[in-house]
Symmetry: C2
Subunit: 666 residues, 2 copies
């Protein structure tokens, strides 16, 4: 029977050989973490390779994602649908073994990682999801939710501020089932970390109210077993196990950055094989090693046991079970449509002038009533961004109940936790901050888009309309930054009616949505049935004089009402002008060419786009013969209305621009 | 004589009244921190209100920038050019008292703050600047650099991960002259922080190897004096003084979030006045209080003493003094031009195919030799991004010598520290990471642009050309995100020659510059003298067939060589096509209309823009009759060349696109 060392060495050689074949990759970390991986995956990790999406499996996040070959090795050896051919195709076009682990690409990969720190931060969201679902669904006689969230991370992850933000919250929230194994190898890309990471990590994590275990020898499987056991025994504190390891163990480049990010080379590989006593050819794993690693049978057993348990649960608690299944499937509640229609009706009837952040809150008021899967929160701006409703209740670490998270002033950490909640399953997380501070969360929004995580962002205070807080708080370029993230959908509604549609989209869409909302009051806008029916297409004709007007005004959000007044003046002067509202550029871009041409007829080249934000991308819709009223400089501290005026966002100026264009030769 | 309490109360009522008049602002924090401010500014702070730019003054960073009225009150009372009228104009258009403190707008404001945490993180950079300059210029018998960096911060600042990143580095770098007064009032916007900030802050900062003093009573001026004295006595550890305070002290809203972000209202203000025993009308400060606060005479004295010291220094060390003066002025060395010309010559002579990150390193090799003000660094990617040269030496905390910073994996903290170095003066900081991770630093890059801080960013691995590391490491939308920051200049050079010009611009320009550079090798490109002369204009005709071609190809960076091959094919087929290289969109946009029309003639509407990044903004340059070869989705893990091919970045595809356009009717 193979020794545990040999089982770990199998991971090492798979990583070494795959990286060598690809001539690209990061061998040092898999070699250093192989024993940690063997201890966790073979002795503690609850999973079923044949059911990689089993809801009550433990979760595993490889926060130092460059060690991807460690994970692919684990998946391959454990019996997931990752074949030896897949391993040989590491980092090749179309393979399910990309350079960094990608959720949705490889069965068994629970989260996309690569940008350091974010995996760890998102693992906090996953552990929170488990805690919350357990509190909601488990019954005294039947626990259907009971799994751990494990995370591997390296020194680099702990240097990143996002880890500090999220881990601090993990302490607050008492996430005892979050267990982090810290690969403390003392090396990062630039060399020995003693010149840039001299923190007392143990002290730091204890200050966050974590249980810190170790430092232990990260190559001693039995010490690892004991540490994991100790971590599991602690019910309220998250655990950090400090595992002292040797990066590139067994290679001549051991304990140096040289083995971090490049193939080892033939000579070094030979030396590794010798040091491991590994006699086999590349990609050859002895049957007895496969046999020892194979987790399929044990996994099936665990899976079947859970299914049996769930069947009992279902018979005892049919309503709860039905709700649980709905949430696992990510299905909206049956009264979603009716709730939405009521909202629309309400916005229409009330004719109310209202900031779109307030309209958004009104939508949330309705949806949080019927959707317990909505897990809300804000980075310390709950009142301003309108993310709390009469149906939200603060998450209570003691009971695990509650559907609202006070994230504190931690935008990036919040975004990672939101991603973790969404990818875990069972939740549609939404969260809010000022649009200007979406910057801080940017890379996590990007990861959400890459994973197509269903998350909803409430970004308020969306322009210079912020007013007195001044340029640090007035977004300018952020809308474009969000729109250009591939797979992100941005909505900038102009009133309550459009806001309701944007929420509907966000809750139905499988991917991240950013709602960009005003601080200031926006007028209620009347629209006909055709306009109403077309909001969901991202852009529509709000006011029409002719199928082929002489000029089209095009606006979003708070600028639509300005454009509407300008339109009224122009029409009063007998000009043929249409007005288009474009709450979502990305959705409009996906419509049929026919619809797009109807809204913006090709031969109507006199167009003015109006948005109090970066102008650059609007030329796509107005061309050389059009104009953009945008903002390509920082704002100013003054009353919102004054700032708007100062930068030419006035009815008068729009009319002037229109007249100038109308009078230009075609 | 007024009591210290009364002196602090003067700050309180100024804040209360100014915020009430503006009907906007944050009274709670100034009211809570007034005693801290009195203790520091009247008893420890070295400054000269009549010389706000005095180089050896202490620096003061109000990291919780919403407390801006505290700072304006301090400046007004101390005798800076902030009049009572300015205070009355708080938060009004054009006033020098904007909503949050803005560097360059108000004399005496040392840094722009507002986004929490960043002020504190940047103060680390300022303290580092002092340490480095002191090590470089001070002599045993004459210290011309000897000042402290003080920072006020609140709970929110400490929640932000960026503070963790930078403060960890402050510990590594042993910045003993950094003194942070932490306004621990237990309240943030969402309420009592005990529900989201339960960290043991003392333990956390001790884990960073800081001296932590307190908690002390933040309203006891003598305890504050003693704590500041203790902090100053510690020479190697940065100090955190935990000051327990009451937000909104004296108001009925004390100790609650209610006084955080809105005017107090008449009733509450009356109650404050009563509690302070303050008898005066709004904006009336008794003469004896002005007299006690007036720091002009003492400041002049300190300033004159320093001038005298510097005169002695100058006579003893004329060469050093001259160099010091040059660096204070931010003047380039006299051999800058010659060095640049040599570089150009070198790139021309060597005809070398080279990744632009390597070309950038070559430029740095030359510039670091002659410019000791260059303080380099990288977030743990020094080798990959080419920021080290044979003239860089790691900063040594023991001696203060060295011109290179190992930031560890901390992009955001790095960017804040870079900003602090630049705004302190005496340095041109540059730093590098992968372009994809510019996301993490985004809001600090924005602040740099807002302050026009002279900083240089080396962002490498600039597209899907990254290859195997896959989509998490392949930037797509980041170039646009940088270009759209108002006041940021982005260069994406296509070869060594353009890279040299981009470095020249970056080092001469007063503002932030982002160099966007390839991982992969780029071919050397020949160009004629006119082309060479026009690189500095941001875009130029690289290959011309006719003044008015039938089609123009337009490309940046790594795509220029592709476009060049396509151009060659098209010209071989006898098509009239020009090729434009546009290394800097922003600089080109600033050129005369005449020049712009020459490069892109108005009536040549068949244009193709080629850039392996978000396409949206390119329509500005190609219009409805042009085309864009861009990338509006995430990349893939595979060899860089394969990924390029996969997404159509091939000569063949460009030729095909061109032929299609050429054959379309005009």
């Amino acid at each position: 029977m193979p020794t545990r060392q040999q089982l770990a060495d199998a991971l090492r050689v798979l990583a070494i050989d795959a990286i060598e074949k690809a001539k690209s990759g990061h061998p040092g970390a898999p070699m250093g973490m192989a024993d940690m991986a063997e201890a966790l995956w073979r002795h503690a990790y609850k999973h079923s390779p044949t059911h990689p999406d089993w809801f009550d499996r433990d979760r595993f996040v490889l926060s130092n994602g460059h060690a991807s070959m460690l994970l692919y090795g684990l998946l391959h050896l454990s019996g997931y649908a990752v074949s030896i051919e897949d391993i040989k195709n590491f980092r090749q076009l179309g393979a399910n073994t990309p350079g960094h682990p990608e959720y949705g690409v490889t069965p068994g990969v629970d989260f996309t990682t690569g940008p350091l720190g974010q995996g760890l931060a998102s693992a906090v969201g996953m552990a929170l999801a488990e805690r919350s679902l357990a509190a909601t669904f488990n019954q005294d006689d039947c626990d259907i939710i009971d799994h751990y969230t494990y995370c591997f991370c390296g020194d680099g992850c702990l240097m990143e501020g996002v880890a500090s933000e999220a881990c601090s919250l993990a302490g607050v929230w008492q996430l005892g089932k979050l267990i982090v194994l810290y690969d403390a190898n003392g090396i990062s890309i630039d060399g020995e970390i003693s010149a840039w990471f001299t923190e007392d990590v143990k002290g730091r994590y204890e200050s966050y109210q974590w249980q810190v275990i170790g430092p232990i020898d990260g190559h001693d499987p039995f010490k690892l077993d004991a540490a994991i056991k100790e971590a599991k025994a602690e019910k309220t504190k998250p655990s950090l196990i400090i595992c002292q390891t040797h990066i590139g163990l067994g290679s001549p480049q051991v304990d140096s950055a040289k083995c971090h990010g490049a193939p080892l080379g033939d000579e070094s590989i030979a030396s590794c094989r010798k040091s491991y006593g590994w006699q086999h050819q590349p990609f050859e794993i002895p049957a007895e090693i496969y046999a020892e690693w194979d987790a399929k049978a044990k996994g099936e057993e665990a899976y079947d046991a859970w299914q049996a348990k769930f069947a009992t649960y279902k018979s005892k608690y049919p309503t709860l079970a039905c709700e649980f299944e709905r949430r696992m499937r990510g299905e909206l509640p049956s009264d979603f449509g009716a709730t939405f229609n009521n909202l629309l009706e309400d916005f229409t009837q009330s004719h109310k002038d209202q900031a779109s952040r307030k309209s958004s809150q009104k939508c949330l008021e309705a949806f949080t009533q019927i959707m317990p899967e909505l897990m809300g929160g804000s980075a310390d701006l709950s009142g301003s961004v309108g993310t709390m409703t009469s149906h939200t209740q603060a998450f209570d670490p003691k009971t695990g109940h509650g559907n609202y998270l006070f994230y504190g002033v931690r935008e990036f950490g919040m975004a990672c936790i939101v991603n973790g909640l969404a990818i875990h399953g069972g939740f549609i997380p939404y969260a809010g901050t000022f649009l200007a501070f979406s910057d801080q969360a940017k890379n996590a929004l990007r990861l959400a888009a890459l994973m197509q995580a269903k998350t909803v962002w409430v970004f308020t205070h969306d322009s210079i309309g912020v007013g007195e807080d001044g340029p640090t708080h007035q977004p300018v370029e952020q809308i474009v930054a969000l729109r250009t993230i591939p797979g992100m959908t941005v909505w900038r509604p102009c009133d309550g009616y459009e806001t309701a549609w944007s929420w509907k989209f966000a809750l139905e869409h499988n991917g991240p949505t950013a709602l960009v909302l005003s601080r200031q009051t926006l007028p209620y806008i009347d629209r006909d049935d055709e306009a109403k029916a077309n909001i969901s297409k991202g852009a529509y004709i709000l006011r029409s004089v002719a199928a082929k007007p002489d000029l089209t005004l095009l606006a979003t959000g708070s600028e639509v009402s300005l454009a509407l007044k300008a339109w009224e003046e122009l029409v009063a002067k007998k000009y043929n002008v249409n007005l288009v509202s474009m709450p979502s550029v990305e959705i409009f871009a996906k419509q049929s060419q026919e619809y797009q041409d109807k809204v913006l007829p090709r031969d109507v080249r006199k167009r003015i786009a109006i948005e109090a934000a970066t102008s650059d991308c609007w030329w796509k819709y107005v061309g050389f013969d059009g104009a953009v009223l945008g903002l390509d400089r920082f704002g100013l501290s003054a009353k919102g209305g004054k700032v708007f005026e100062h930068f030419g966002f006035t009815v008068e100026h729009i009319v002037e621009m229109a007249l100038e264009l109308l009078q230009a030769k075609a």
